[in-house]
Symmetry: C2
Subunit: 344 residues, 2 copies
DNA sequence: ATTAGCACTCTAACACGATGAGTGCTAACA
DNA sequence: TGTTAGCACTCATCGTGTTAGAGTGCTAAT
């Protein structure tokens, strides 16, 4: 059987209506509120076909139809014309220029959650590919040093290290010079053992400290489990009747709170492909890798602050989420980010 | 009417039973499972009295009784003998010695949530009374400086500042000396204008930078809105039937997510009074200052890591929460904290 | 190919009665 | 005077039966 023009129109109608009402839609509704001028009986036949083809589902014998995952997928891929989003507020928020990046991310998450009325999550940027801007060693106590590492993108990490031998101010100053001469401008991957050896030679009796510092840098920069994920609006999900199985809702919000499971989702996001849809990905129902979200849909987008500093934003809602709006929102958000961070 | 020995025993029985079952308890249950050897009829009379006195409530005519807020209050104040908690795991967690304090707090929150099956919240420590351990100024770009501030308790704050005039490495070194000579060992309150003036004189043409740095310190140290609050186990609350009004549950979890409203609760916690109950506070039902938690009880405790570095932990559960266990848990937790941080 | 009409199915909503837990009251008892 | 047995009463809960309405699938007519 083929998906002809008319079937597509009907399918679109069904999905549109369902997105708004959240209730199964019947043949009569479609017949009345479409410009096709067909009787409900005809629609019924078409719907029967659509069901057979797997685009829609009947929850029970005498109910209307609701879109299946396949139906939503078709909608997202072919029928949806993106809305130009009305998120001008975004700009406002960014102009406050939150200096600390995590605060910014929290704001974005919240803004999106309020705007869309879905749950949002956002992962902090990954630094791995980044270069060390400078390293600063300071003496706290005789046997305690503070390492401050600044990475491209003005991200600052601190690390406190204990050393066995005592060090004085002058040595610290000397070490600072060594460290910066060798490390500045390097990414973590570029720090190899040969380099470390050379540094150790330079540091003469303070080899151990060099080793400690390198370790600290590695930990601070890599810090896989430091992947911060901020969520917002999780309780929005409680207001969608299709998710009101209590146990499921609980599991869902729990995953959002735990955050562990979300990492996969956010890290495996596709790269920014710079096309119209720039790294925007839609998971529908069982397409998502997280089991507790089988009844939801997730839209993710990859943002990039500066070269190589990138993270992911995700929006979680019911399968009948307003895909247009969500995608639109994300798109403008990405643009805003570009505008502010890249053109700066 | 007086609350005699027998009435107290009965009240205690009712509360105990209700804590376990979560269902209204009837006269017959008490008569059977108490060593008072009284018939249900007698119990009924007594219960009638207790109701009149306001300690218990009848949800509807033909149901058993449940404790009122007043009843719980009496229980907490007079009847409860604290359980010695079985939170030896706490020690384990602490020994991992999470170097970053916020990670530690998250762990504690989670541990408590898992242990008690209630929701927990924990506020990061307040630094206000703390002394500056050292200040470190570093040159990032010609017109961009990084201020690293370390406070007692090894808490590190970073601040990036823009300056109008350009500064070279030597000036930064000089400024560092000035800053540390004047500021080391001072608390924010002790930095007065006179001191700032003296520093400015020393810094000669770099007065502006001194001002900027002081500002940065003030912001970084004070940072009221930076009060981090971590929550955990919020979804635990969904499993208590008495909180399953959907709208209420939503509001409740929402407050926990928003965190704004929690600040009052956590900041106004009473000081550590070093007695047996060391700063542990119990809010029952309508006693709490947060409206969405009218149907819950909250237990808060104040912890202190080092002199002056203190914050608050809160546990939120249904009114029939296991007060003994919660208070016990918090108490051992406090002790552990003391042991590890103070005796060090 | 489309449509009107009809029989059929299924859910949601409501009423009804049975059940049982629990109470309050009264009268008898120690 | 305190305690208890007994009984009538209340009320939430649960299962059942009924009804209304929405929606379908099929068939026959257009």
């Amino acid at each position: 059987m083929e998906l002809d023009e008319r079937k597509i129109k009907i399918l679109n109608s069904i999905i549109q209506t369902y997105l708004i009402t959240g209730e199964p839609v019947g043949s009569r509704t479609i017949s009345k509120y479409t410009d096709l001028n067909l009787s409900s009986a005809t629609i019924r036949n078409e719907m029967s076909d659509l069901e057979e083809m797997g685009y829609i589902i009947q929850p029970h014998t005498s109910a209307g139809r609701i879109p299946s995952d396949k139906g939503y997928r078709f909608y997202v891929d072919n029928l949806m014309k993106e809305k130009v989003a009305e998120v001008d507020e975004v700009k406002e928020v960014f102009l406050q220029k939150a200096d600390k990046i995590d605060r910014l991310l929290k704001q974005v998450a919240k803004l999106l959650a309020v705007n869309t009325n879905y749950a949002t999550m956002i992962s902090g940027p990954q630094y791995k590919r980044n270069k060390i801007k400078f390293v600063q060693l300071s003496r706290v106590e005789a046997d305690q040093l503070l390492v401050v590492i600044m990475i491209d993108g003005n991200i600052i990490k601190n690390r406190l290290i204990q050393v066995r031998q005592e060090v004085g101010e002058e040595e610290v100053a000397k070490l600072n010079i060594v460290l910066n001469t060798y490390l500045q401008g390097l990414s973590l991957m570029e720090i190899n053992m040969e380099l470390v050896q050379r540094m150790k030679v330079q540091a003469s009796e303070y080899q151990e400290i060099i080793r400690e510092v390198i370790d600290a840098i590695a930990v601070a920069v890599q810090e896989e489990d430091d992947l911060e994920i901020y969520t917002s609006g999780t309780t929005n999900l409680l207001s969608y009747p299709e998710l009101n199985d209590k146990e499921k809702a609980r599991a869902l919000i729990s995953t959002l709170e735990e955050k562990k499971e979300l990492t996969d989702l956010l890290l495996n996001a596709p790269d920014d492909d710079e096309g119209e849809k720039r790294g925007i990905q839609v998971y529908i129902g069982s397409e998502t890798p997280v089991t507790s979200m089988k009844d939801c849909s997730i839209v993710t987008a990859t943002y990039e602050l500066e070269e190589g500093v990138q993270g992911t934003i995700g929006i979680i809602g019911p399968k009948r989420m307003d895909y247009k709006k969500v995608v639109g929102n994300l798109q403008t958000l990405m643009n805003q980010l570009d505008e502010i961070y890249k053109k700066k």
